[in-house]
Amino acid sequence: MSSVALGPLGSAALLLAVAFALWGLIGGAIGAVRRDARLTTSARLAGVATFLAMTAAVAVMEIALLTNDFSVSYVAETSRVSSPVWVKVVTLWAALEGSLLLWGWLLSGYWALLSLVAPNGPLRPWALTVMAGVQVFFSGVPALLTPPFSAVSPVPLDGPGPNPLLQNHWMMAVHPALMYLGFVGLTVPFAYAMAALITRRPGSEWMMQTRRWTLIGWGFLTAAIVAGGWWSYEVLGWGGYWAWDPVENVSFMPWLTATAFIHSVQVQERRRMLKAWNLLLITTTFSLTLLGTFLTRSGVISSVHAFGDGPVGPAFLTFFLIVMALSLGLVARRWDQVRDRADLDHPVSREGSILAGNVLFLALTFTVLLGTLFPLIVEAVSGQKVTVGAPFFDAASLPLWMAVLALMGVGPLLPWRRAPQQSLLRNLAWMGAVGLIAAGGAFALGMRGSYPLLTTGLIGWNLASLTLLILGAVVPRVRVGTRSVAQVLRSYAFENRRRFGSMITHFGILVIAVGILGSSAYRVDEQLRIDIGGTAAWQGFDLTVVDRYMERSDQRVSVGAEVQVAREGRILATLYPRINSFAGQSMTVPTPAVLYTPLYDVYLNIAAGVTPEQEFVVLRVVRSPLITWIWLGGVIMALGTGYALSPTRRAVSATQRSREEGTAAT
């Protein structure tokens, strides 16, 4: 069909990427050992070359997808002529081979960027070498183990199209890309940590140089998890967003350890403590991304018998073991340099609270890991098949989350080294009072149950803490100067980006806590049978099934119902819950329709097939109060992270100055 053979072109680009990455690894290592500037520079350029080769491979794949070149195996297996253009574009990550290609491409982008912008110093050659080593794996897997560019013969005329669950919602274009950007972003601090160990410079230099990368990776991971929650809410049809499913868990574990890491690096920056701890944390984070991919891509989790299902699982397991062995071995060899000589001055201090928070985050990680792996352990020991349900994860993690929330209110108020008792007690009294008022008010309004009340109290506690933080920063400045409160606040927020960004992010977590509280404690989930033309009263709403609903296009058929949602005689919305079937796929996808409001969502899903003979429809109706706050909180967290990352005025003017100098020089 096409005049250019895209398959061989893509394969060649991938092999070229592996070759460049190998050069980055070998040349970089030799150059770093011999301190050979020419070798080091050429290995540095290998990063850019690898990125170009990977970009070429991705571009070839996109061209093949967009031009329906079914001679390329990945296109034949996942694409379809009648799919809309956006679906074809995102089909790149609709299946395993393509998503590994995407992962390798994004990694090469970070590596190339790092090799261009990383400050010249003793860490750089080794950090880039480690990046190259990781890239060898992530280019090698798509090039050799899961080749997406294999030739298909005879060339089919059409393919099945991507998994219907994926083409059913545009979020699928966003969520995986965010997830990989997060995973890949956290590779950079890992590479620097290894460089710090190799060069015997385990001070805070490596984390200062990767502060931004770490925050970027963490921010993407956060956004990816919240986006994934929203995707499952919009698509999966049970009206929830998190099921403690293994695939969710393995993306959550690196987030937990990365969250511990972005907090504990501050202790090393300020107090020169926790060197080994930080090195181990970032190693754990990076390893967990590999372990997670191994667990979910090899079929190990659902059943031990599927072990070795495809070459990807063993490859990731091997790489995981290599990474663990090398990094732990390095930490052990450098133990004399990385162990802490300083001691905690006082547990009631910023560093004390961060340490306690770290313990909590690790305990959470362990809980999630245990719950995810426990079915494997039980089956290995007793041969019995078990699943660990959401009740385990809720019961084991909720107390820890409560402690995290409590600590989140206290930590930022504590000064480094030692807290003056008087001001601390005054602050705690305020926070406790607001927390009690919040919980008491909720109780008076009818809230029962210890976790909902405790969460409400802790949200009040944290809001008081944030207020005290801002007052503590603003009031003295207003007192001494002549500036107005607004001016002071603005300049404080402007000059302390990192601190203010963290306040915004913490506030986002509170907003999410409100959403989780409302939507899990007060969720109503029922099936309703409503006659066509009839009305059912439900939870203060009137649901009227106006008619059946049907829509047909080349690519999909939707069958469902037109439902009016009214409250006290006023029509709030007309929703079209439906079941979509996609051309080329036997699986049908229930597609819920949601009325979003700030206080409650009305979520309708077709529970039983709508047929012309049947004079009624069965709807699954879910009311989740405050669930929108979760998505809102995710946006606030992303904004807060972005704010903390935005260059300060000083940095901006510095780059501006250098640019001006640059133009002056020419």
Binding site: H305, D343, F374, K385, T387, V388, G389, A396, V618
Partner: protein
């Protein structure tokens, strides 16, 4: 000295977490069994949430579309139990198809709140010969 206090505190937190985790785990393990495994030891699964796998017995399905209640028998060819499920049957639900229901036994009836259709390759033999239990279990998992 202080170091020891922190170490002890840390161990205390970990021990507490361990206890919480252990209790939560034993309470929320959901065993996946077949009807004959239940019949062998009903006491072990009394008052417990389990996942029961099997094949929908021919001519046993009844759906009350007024009350949205589904009733059928699930079998592994050795044992058969009645299942009551609240809600509509899933689209691919058929007789002689593999299913996994989640819930608990109440007075000899399995009351399910979650019904999954599994495309088991092991179908009930037409002439009533017992089927390979292990194979059935693997195919339903």
């Amino acid at each position: 000295m202080r170091r020891w206090i922190y170490a002890l505190l840390g161990i205390g937190v970990l021990a507490l977490a361990g206890v919480l985790i252990q209790r939560a785990l034993t309470d929320s393990l959901v065993y996946f069994i077949l009807p004959s495994e239940y019949a062998a030891d009903p006491g072990a699964y009394a008052e417990r949430r389990i996942r029961l796998g099997g094949i929908v017995l021919n001519d046993s399905v009844a759906f009350d579309d007024e009350r949205l209640e589904l009733a059928f028998f699930v079998t592994d060819s050795l044992q058969t139990y009645p299942v009551r499920h609240t809600g509509t049957p899933p689209e691919l639900f058929r007789e002689n198809t593999g299913v996994v229901v989640e819930g608990r036994f109440e007075e000899g009836v399995f009351v399910s709140d979650n019904l999954l259709v599994k495309h088991s390759e092991v179908y009930q033999a037409e002439d009533g010969h017992p089927i390979d239990i292990e194979e059935l279990k693997d195919s339903l998992q």
